[in-house]
């Protein structure tokens, strides 16, 4: 990192001159604002920050950030970002993607970037629809959804993005939503501060093609009883008076209970740092629709070596061992002989 990173920046320093082109009312605006407000706090410099996106409404995001950016090709952002992060472990790499971009065409790059723990912060704008192509169902759309490409209702069961990420060894997994700027900022900050691949699912409203998809959970009046706020080390409770809680049964099944019935001590204590991802997975599957109590916050955050650093370490080790590469020696390394003039 260059010393410029300590220079203080303001939201303005992070805002590009491009006019924002999402539909009026699109949830993407709120996410953009949250990121632009967060960046100055991170003490990083725009010139050391790269936003990589694929293709989709959400993937227009990099154009609006005054930083380095690549609006790449559909689904390939995690792979391109891997190239950036491996070549330049000194940079802050962000990946902006959508539910189709990351989980449909980009599924393979997504799971491998997580498995390798490449240092990047992945923000997945999940609106459960293909926005840019005008409204086909996506891998996160609910069964039965009527869209242009599923006039009789979709028959594809959706992915649970957090479950996919946890099944793929993700070291940091979190969820937030586009209506709560404070929560977004806190979640993005935690994701950024985590070294390695951080994955954040953002419930994002597409008011044109899938309006209100998350209303039953994130609607103002729903939140208390429908949003379960996860905090590491704290019992998992929710409800207007935090009267509801989560317990793990001896049969290995999580259940929602009234705290009164089971007693405070029985309530499961959230452990985001546990190496075994099984608990985070169970919490991710606590709700598999958009109409029942759903956990938000950081599901998992564990330390393991990030890929770019590991690559760099092998280079350093090799140079220490053999000394910096010398071309002349390389050319001789398979043995050589001399043909003398006098032959």
């Amino acid at each position: 990192m260059t010393d410029t990173t300590v220079r203080l920046t303001t939201k303005k320093d992070w805002t590009s001159d491009q006019e924002v082109r999402w539909c009026p009312g699109c949830g993407d605006y709120g996410i953009l604002l949250a990121v632009q407000m967060l960046m100055p706090d991170l003490g990083v410099a725009p010139e050391n920050t790269v936003f990589v996106s694929g293709i989709g409404c959400s993937s227009r995001f990099p154009y609006y950030m005054s930083a380095y950016g690549i609006h790449s090709i559909h689904g390939r952002a995690p792979a391109i970002a891997t190239g950036v992060a491996v070549a330049r472990p000194d940079l802050d790499v962000w990946v902006i993607t959508g539910d189709g971009d990351a989980l449909s065409i980009g599924g393979n790059h997504f799971i491998h970037a997580l498995r390798r723990n490449v240092n990047m912060t992945i923000l997945l704008f999940n609106n459960r629809i293909y926005g840019l192509t005008k409204g086909q169902y996506s891998p996160t759309s609910e069964v039965g959804k009527i869209t242009k490409s599923s006039p009789f209702g979709s028959i594809d069961p959706p992915f649970n993005p957090l479950a996919v990420a946890l099944g793929a060894e993700a070291s940091f997994v979190a969820r937030t939503h586009d209506l709560d700027r404070k929560h977004m900022i806190e979640t993005f900050r935690a994701a950024h501060d985590h070294r390695g691949a951080s994955f954040v699912e953002i419930f994002q409203n597409c008011n044109v093609f899938n309006d209100g998809a998350f209303d039953d959970i994130t609607g103002r009046e729903q939140r208390p009883k429908m949003m379960i706020d996860l905090k590491h080390g704290e019992p998992i409770r929710f409800g207007p008076d935090r009267e509801r809680g989560v317990v793990m049964g001896a049969d290995g099944q999580l259940r929602l209970v009234d705290v009164g019935d089971v007693g405070e001590d029985a309530i499961l204590v959230h452990d985001a740092h546990r190496h075994d991802p099984s608990l985070a997975f169970a919490l991710a599957r606590l709700s598999n629709d958009d109409h029942s109590p759903t956990p938000f916050g950081v599901f998992r955050s564990i330390e393991r070596p990030d890929y770019g650093t590991a690559v760099g370490a092998q280079l350093a080790a090799a140079s220490d061992k053999k000394g910096p590469g010398n071309l002349a020696d390389l050319l001789r390394s398979n043995g050589s002989w001399t043909v003398t003039a006098d032959m």
């Binding site: 690549i70 891997t82 790059h109 491998h112 590469g325």
Partner: protein
């Protein structure tokens, strides 16, 4: 480094010959590749010029003793400068019936057969579909047959050392090597030294191989069987320091050298695929050169990684073959749009689809030239010999970096695995291909404030500025949507799109001004001109030499740059009455030059998974000459 002291020259009764082609053939398990390799190195050290052709089955292990399981290694050693592994071998070493069955028809009439008689039992004869035993059914009468019970003799030599019978058997390839080394007067020291350190860890194996090698050598000295020995004198190679090199290693080293000469770190994204994998393997060894290698999840990611690395200021490279080439089209098209340097290296193999993974072919010229959607031109260059792969890699990098464009470098399976002696270049003589990153604003607004325009081009090269992350004040966004010339902002206006399409095309076309004039080899005043590219070089070279030795006149132009085509190519071709284009495909370059110059070039096509032989090209030249005569 061993100095050439011709140890065996003293030995009398040796007949001097100017060249010999020897083919070692046996079961995949018999270690023929190793044997061939060693014989090659020994000959190289001895100072011969040489060229090799390894062939092995696509199966990891085809059934032992079966014809599909035959693995062979052909080496051509000579006292003069040669380029092909030879057409018909003069000597065939067959370790089992299947090897004999598979390769006999390649042996030149009256050639020498060295057979391991121990393996000619019923079981093995069956596996090779022999109904009668060729050893005694007269079918080999036309050849000089040397029958040696190699297995037995090897065991006799090894077992006393305490080697288990089963393991001793494994050394029989060294017996063969020893025998042939004697017959062709190869120095023994180098090989013995090599055995010692290669098998240092497993002493018994080391001893067993040593014993087998010497047993074979002495068997030659002592038995009548062999008759008198031959010697191929050292070739008069220009003085200098030499190594034996395969195309893939040369290519990998060329990439390391290119990064070094460009003063850029190298990042390779690759997914294993035959015959390109060895470049990944070789590069992953050289981390002390700052070489980063990522074994990606697939070819798409591998290419994408190269793009990301290029954006970040590295020399971004991706290597592949066959179907992998098709998969890289999408990301390459992005690199064309982003105008970033990147190398896509294609070690061509037989297609279509999975095709013939271990066989050579040169049928990817079309996909390299035209395999992207929309108008997405990029430079294409091809290497023509194992050692040239080193320089081709540097040239590809030079163009990519200077013009900020992806470049496709074509090699093939034959160059990749073939080897030749290479006179080491002096690293200091390699070109400086470094580039300055953009660090300053290049555009001033009406209000006097300045900004960075990522698509404001160099007037000469039309290359856009390359500003990399970490550079203050130069933040910018690039993407695959059409963009405004200059500012690089998204722009769909008709006029701008047309302008950008033509600018991208002009940038690539302009590279032709940056190429040396073509060299017309052979007779500039001939009627017939051979137009070649890639690995056909070896066979064409030999064929042209032969034709001219026989007094025939023929010209030869060999292309390294396939896109853009050299500016003088059209005029040159128009000078001749007949242009023939030998290619290991159905005439891909031929069709291109016909369309470009309206020259009635004729395709000479071979699609057998094998390189051309010199004779095949020689005949094609013959026919072209007669054709011309008939016209006149």
């Amino acid at each position: 480094m061993t100095d050439i002291v011709d140890r065996d020259a003293a030995a009398s009764g040796t007949e001097q010959i100017d060249h010999i082609v020897i083919r070692f053939a046996g079961d995949s398990g018999d270690g023929m590749q190793l044997t061939g390799d060693r014989f090659t190195s020994a000959s190289a050290v001895f100072g011969n010029d040489l060229s090799t052709l390894p062939e092995y089955p696509a199966e990891i292990r085809a059934p032992a003793g079966s014809i599909n399981g035959v693995s062979s290694f052909q080496v051509h050693i000579s006292d003069h400068d040669i380029t092909t592994p030879g057409d018909a071998p003069g000597v065939l070493v067959a370790m089992n019936p299947a090897a004999l069955k598979a390769d006999l028809d390649r042996l030149m009439p009256g050639g020498t057969l060295i057979l391991n008689t121990d393996t000619f039992d019923e079981r093995n004869l069956d596996k090779a579909d022999y109904t009668t035993n060729p050893l005694d059914d007269g079918s080999l009468n036309g050849y000089r047959v040397i029958k040696v019970p190699m297995t037995t003799l090897t065991k006799d030599a090894a077992i006393p050392l305490g080697v288990k019978a089963r393991d001793a058997d494994r050394s029989k390839n060294f017996f063969a090597l020893g025998l042939v080394s004697f017959m062709y007067s190869r120095p023994t020291e180098a090989t013995l030294e090599w055995i010692d350190d290669r098998f240092a860890k497993t002493d018994l194996v080391r001893q067993s191989n040593r014993a087998a090698f010497l047993a074979g050598y002495h068997y030659g000295e002592t038995t009548e069987e062999v008759g008198h020995r031959y010697e191929v004198r050292p070739a008069h190679l220009p003085p200098g320091e030499y190594t034996t090199i395969t195309g893939n290693v040369a290519l990998a080293w060329g990439l390391v050298a290119a990064a070094h000469q460009a003063k850029l770190p190298l990042t390779l994204g690759s997914y294993p695929i035959t015959p390109a994998s060895d470049i990944l393997h070789e590069l992953s060894k050289h981390k002390n050169f700052g070489v980063r290698t990522v074994q990606a999840e697939d070819e798409i990611a591998a290419a994408a990684i190269a793009v990301g690395a290029a954006f970040s200021g590295h020399l971004g490279i991706t290597t592949t073959s066959g179907p992998g080439v098709a998969l890289k089209s999408e990301a390459t098209s992005l690199a064309v749009s982003l105008e970033l340097p990147m190398l896509l290296i294609d070690i061509q193999r037989g297609g279509p689809s999975t095709g013939l993974p271990t066989k050579t072919e040169a049928a990817d010229l079309n996909i390299a030239m035209f395999g992207r959607h929309g108008e997405a031109p990029l430079p294409v260059i091809a290497s023509y010999s194992p050692s040239h792969c080193f320089f081709a890699a540097i040239e590809a990098a030079r163009i990519a970096i200077k013009y900020r464009t992806p470049v496709i470098l074509l090699s093939d399976g034959y160059l990749a695995n073939g080897s030749e002696p290479w006179r080491l270049p002096d690293p200091d003589d390699l070109p400086d291909i470094s580039v300055a990153f953009a660090t300053e604003h290049n555009h001033t607004l009406d209000d006097g404030t300045t900004e960075f325009w990522p698509y404001l081009r160099d007037p000469v090269t039309l290359a856009r500025p390359w500003a990399i992350p970490g550079t203050p004040g130069m933040m910018h966004r690039v993407g695959g949507l059409e963009k405004e010339d200059g500012s690089g902002n998204i722009n769909y206006s008709p006029a701008n799109h047309e302008k950008m399409v033509h600018l991208r095309a002009a940038k690539i076309a302009g590279i032709a001004n940056d190429l040396p004039p073509l060299e017309v080899r052979g007779d500039a005043d001939a009627d017939v001109c051979v137009l070649g590219w890639g690995s056909t070089w070896a066979a064409i070279d030999a064929a042209v030499q032969r034709t001219r030795r026989r007094g025939g006149k023929v010209a030869w132009v060999h292309l390294v740059h396939l896109n853009p085509l050299p500016r003088d190519l059209g005029d040159i071709l128009k000078r001749f009455r007949r242009v023939i284009v030998p290619e290991l495909n159905l005439g891909q370059l031929c069709r291109i030059v016909r369309g470009e110059y309206l020259v009635d070039a004729q395709s000479i096509s071979k699609v057998q998974g094998l390189p051309f032989t010199a004779i095949e090209i020689e005949e094609a030249i013959e026919q072209a000459m007669t054709h011309v005569e008939e016209l006149s």
